[in-house]
Symmetry: D2
Subunit: 437 residues, 4 copies
């Protein structure tokens, strides 16, 4: 499900040359990052798909090239001849009339896919350099959209790789664990907020996705927002207090899915054979991109569904924040956590100075209390259906911030992510809120 949108950077007032240069750089960085993310994998690793609606990494590698070919090179490069026409058929998205091609194919092999990526890279850079000024604006917009698409797939690809490695009984690691992973959690605390009539939504000149605007006014009562996300240690208290078995804590749909799927802990948590746990969480391990890792009570809890976040909040006597509450705080501070570029591919407990808020944009996506609906005044943008995020506005809850697998320019105070409330595949955590006085 490729979410994507326009991210023009130096702004329309910049010279065309500067804008070309900036875009070429962004393009190269995005493409290089994708390649870097699979550098530790074997061709066989790239073939595995274990998430039903997911894809093997090789497909992500090829599919992102595919969009550059169909949305940039073919429309804007006169006389462009596809490197290999078969790639056009093999790596597109599902249409309404034709079934999608299978996503697991051994041929073309990984080496061919990477060679094809190189060809696309050269062709796109050539186009950026050579395209007529008259076509530039339109091409820039298409390039911004396709680069955003490449970026989005980086996070999805890592989620699919993580699940695939976890599905292998050997539990291999995607990469070695970096040094100093384990820190203490930031101090607990609450940020008092007066509420009132606030403005939310992405401010206009900033780049972003269609569903993040337009800016509009919302009334908020006084509230308090937690200074940091809920930690694994806190969530373990909920488990040990019987939270998964207490029907009164759960919404009706959540209770049904939790029972049907036998949820007893977040996804990727595993109880070790012996040992009975206790507050320190000895007895639990967590599967990460570094393989199975010891339980760290200070880490933000991750891979919980919205239902689990909602049940935890009810158990704790608090609630999830409204997205406008979250955004009002996030927009006034610079509360970053680990993002994709940080090299930490698992949420970290990070000791921090000051009063917070901490880790708002990074480490874990944060579930909010809001269902995903379109902002007042929303207008559907032109362009391919896949580039319109607004079409997802049903049966999904809003998440804010960004995770340790989110590219830098896809995380921020106005970023709106949305997922079905039952999903646990993504790096989803949450922070609490409560009514103020």
């Amino acid at each position: 499900m490729p979410l994507s949108g326009p991210f023009p950077s130096p702004g329309p007032d910049a010279s065309t040359g500067d804008r070309r240069q900036a875009l070429a750089t962004r393009f190269q960085k995005a493409r290089a990052r994708t390649a870097e993310l699979v550098a530790t994998l074997t061709p066989e690793d790239l073939m595995v798909q274990t998430v039903p609606d997911g894809a093997p990494a090789k497909w992500h590698l090829a599919h992102t090239s595919w969009l550059f070919e169909v949305a940039v090179l073919i429309p804007f490069s006169p006389g462009y001849r596809p490197c290999d026409p078969a790639f056009l058929d093999l790596f597109g998205t599902r249409g309404d009339l034709h079934p999608a091609p299978p996503r697991i194919v051994s041929r073309p092999g990984a080496a061919e896919i990477m060679r094809h990526r190189d060809q696309i890279n050269a062709a796109v850079l050539h186009l950026i350099d050579q395209i007529d000024d008259g076509l530039w604006d339109e091409a820039e917009s298409a390039l911004a959209m396709t680069i955003a698409h490449e970026r989005r797939h980086q996070e999805r690809m890592l989620l699919h790789i993580k699940h695939a490695f976890w599905s292998n009984p050997l539990r291999p690691a995607y990469e070695p664990v970096p040094d100093h992973l384990h820190l203490g959690a930031p101090p607990d605390g609450w940020l008092e907020q007066p509420g009132g009539l606030v403005e939310v939504g992405r401010p206009e000149p900033l780049p972003g996705f269609d569903h993040e605007g337009p800016r509009h006014r919302v009334w908020l009562e006084p509230y308090r927002l937690a200074a940091r996300p809920v930690t694994c240690g806190e969530f373990l208290d909920f488990i040990e207090a019987g939270g998964y078995g207490d029907r009164k804590l759960w919404l009706s749909d959540g209770w049904e899915v939790a029972r049907a799927e036998g949820w007893m802990a977040p996804l990727y948590w595993e109880r070790s054979g012996s040992g009975s746990g206790g507050a320190s969480g000895s007895g639990w391990q967590i599967f990460t991109l570094y393989g199975m890792q010891p339980f760290d009570p200070g880490e933000p809890v991750c891979h919980v569904s919205w239902y689990e976040a909602d049940a935890y909040a009810r158990w704790a006597g608090k609630r999830l924040p409204l997205e406008a509450e979250w955004e009002t705080v996030a927009a006034c501070c610079d509360s970053m956590g680990n993002l994709l570029g940080s090299g930490h591919r698992h949420p970290r407990a990070g000791t921090c100075h000051g009063t917070g808020p901490w880790q708002m944009c990074g480490d874990v996506w944060e579930w909010t209390a809001d269902a995903f609906t379109l902002y007042p005044g929303y207008r559907r943008p032109d362009g391919p259906d896949e580039a319109v995020n607004g079409r997802l506005a049903s049966n999904r809850m809003v998440l804010r911030g960004g995770s340790c697998l989110t590219p830098f320019d896809h995380a921020g105070p106005w970023t709106r992510h949305c997922l079905r409330p039952e999903t646990r595949l993504s790096m989803t955590g949450f922070r609490l809120a409560e009514d103020g006085i």
Copy 2:
């Protein structure tokens, strides 16, 4: 899915005697209405279930009695002995541990079920009359909840009966069509609203369900609300303009369900063999509780999913109203349509005087733009899980008003109904809104 809640009536200040009298009257009316609704049916009619998660009418008749037995008679009548213990096991709700009993059973027969209803009626009236004053408050609350439950099942039972009759190839009628069914639609028009900081949610002394409060403030921009619901004739324009086939009008989930289920028109609309329609809708018929009926362009459109309402609004260049927008208008006027007591068991086009709004509470439930979430400050009430509507707050959209099958005291400006966006079984229509200036 028995939604229910407390509806005490004369208020806590009234004398106990008055309150007993009032409740006895409400109880008798509710029970009599249920019996009246099946008066035209044969015992065999009462056996049919065609909605997968639905129930045959006989089950509704017995299940409502069951709740009076377990939630009122057994707790509050000392020494009460169940009329027939088998009824306690046969007609309860699904628990977590035990599978639900089958809902289609030939024995006990309809006559026994009705006799059992009479026994319950007598026992409840006796209890209302005889119960100690010290227990009255608690009993009154339980009775209010169980009467509301009976009321809720009236609407559901009629929806299930309608579907069952429609599933019979003979398309029998539930009752004969009443006179003067076909009127003209009210005039088209828009109500200008200034918006601003408004208060919404059920005002405290008024009776209602848990999820309809607490009252709270919401900011609204200026807006305009349609004076009447969208009509069948208007919706036919959407069909004939190809609305069901234009992907850009639909949300992603809606498009998938519409295609998977082959939606080409609202539920119960059927194209006649010959004739090609046209603006008058000749060529279409609509199945109703009166059997197949000619297409009436002035009727409010009904049995559309939220996705269809949303797609229509997008096609029309408008939007669905926010529930706060809807409520603000409804609370300031007395815009009733046909409810269950009116004897019209299908939405009517009703010519009206004045400027509207028309038919806000009645004829059709009206989809809003909002997903169903809990109001700020919501506290989960005590009591059986089935009486807590708040536990449904995910994956559902809010509907407002009430339908021609809704009991009088379950429809009003503050009534909040919620359904999954794909459902078309209920009497669901909608009215449009747009941004003001």
Copy 3:
């Protein structure tokens, strides 16, 4: 799935008048028996369907009339006008192109269905009396087929009624238990058979179904056939010896279905709350058309799949008989058990004199070792597809004899019944065989 075939009776040499008279009598008896079988049921009882591919009794009542209308009255009665054209559409079989009409409909009601049966009865008798001699042969053949169809449905209807009553938590009885139900089993024993080159298959002048012929030769080695079917007491030994949990006793497909469905005993066997059983079977009850009944160790075991029969035989160190072995014995003796006309609607243990064999044709259908394939020289008969039993010749095992629910003229030494090996709905038991010397 209506199996049917031609059963002409007095033979082609008889006078037309005699043959008309004989057929009229057979027709009346068959129709009266069907009506008699539902005499104890309420209209609501006739509405229940609990077997996924089954039908409510009302459908059987109407569907059998339907076939007389389409296969006899319409083709052979010039100018015949259907009593009610709606019945033609409502009660037919599934075609390839159109979905079948629903089998559960409240209208027409039971009274109308029975009235329609009377009209059909009168029309058919009139046709038998009045039809031209020139058309007689063809009409006689169609009548024989449709009467056989009525007969077949009697057994199926009772199986469906039994399952429906069992599915009701109240476990009502279809009819009161008759006197002297419980007798001792016939003595155990073996019939020595020399084998050799034998002729099997229905001898030509005898009436029967297409797949029961032609007669042909088969080589048999010497063998021994059990004098009576395996009893409930013997089968209980298998259960108590752990037969359901010993994988080596089971065929691969059988093991999978037994585990998937949690088989621990034959269908309709239920272990009482307390008591641990023992050889007498105290601790078990069996649901019958007489309601729950005490365990009778001498009764033939019933409602076992072929897999269970096969596993039992392996456990006992014996085997199931070949159908040719079974038939060779059955054709040389007159070993009847209870059939539909006997009024015993459950297999009986019947003390017998002599050396047996006992109960070959009656009480329980007997599974054989043979898969159902077509006899050498089989030719597919003309006529409607539904009248061709040979089209079922895959994935089914052969059963022989007849059960206590089988009409008299559908049970005998040459009767071949076939069912999928996993089915347990029918009155299926078995007798053992072993190699001779």
Copy 4:
């Protein structure tokens, strides 16, 4: 589904040294053949599984080693230490209690799997050389079973590879097409057979599987057997005559599966975009291990289900042969076709001299008229459940001969293969028979 059985070769009278030598040679040949079959594949090719109950080639490579480890090395090599304990858990078969490990894993990689195969090979050869004479008989039997298992997997692995390549839209070829693939079909003709009392079943000293014996007598009427299998050209006549749409030609179960799955031709047949076919089959192509190949009317038809073979025979006015009829002819002649060792990995049309029969053992497995049941006197062998073929004796039809993918020592006059009648994955064809005079 690993079918396997004992194939001791030089016979029990040979010296132990000779028998060791013979078995070592057979072991080495079998293992080398498996490795040779994947020599043209990339590690990514070895990862693809497209048949729901199938496996990727890498799993076959590892699983066959696994059985040598658990059934030979661990029991018979004192002090044997598994090369890598993880392989024992990863590549076993599904047990009853534990779910099977996933069959698609990227790690261990193909290189590790092949290295592990080499280690197993060395260990097994060492064991054959060193084992005590006193243990030899038992070890020889276990080795014979595990070698047969390896052989069986060769055919299955190729079937899975073929399906995986066909599922790739590029339709790559497994290997280049060999020269002179296309010959003419052998002449049509019939072999007259007198029938009578014949002996069938594998003669005792010959090696083979449990379900191929014991030898026993069967009575056959005179019959005629086709000299060669039905060809693609002949089967095309059936298609063009509308055979797939004529319900009367099909058994009931076959008709349902054919319609549900939209069968219009054998599996792997594809109609080219243009061209309308005709007797020459222009307009059709067939996917093979050599990629898409032109239609060759003289090739034996392949990849048809039993239902299609049965429908064709009925259409042609013939029938499928009984397995005893087939075996009686095959046992008296030396009618070989292409087997795995021939290097032709697709059925060939092979012009032949003489009167036939041709291609009985090779090119295509041949469906017979018989359901798979156990021979009279069959006794279940000891040993692991997986080595018992008799446990498959339900819901399957018998095939005889062998295919172009069958190892040499698994094809012959007494070979009995069995498959579900709806399967089309295997190299299944058929020859006709008819009654003689």
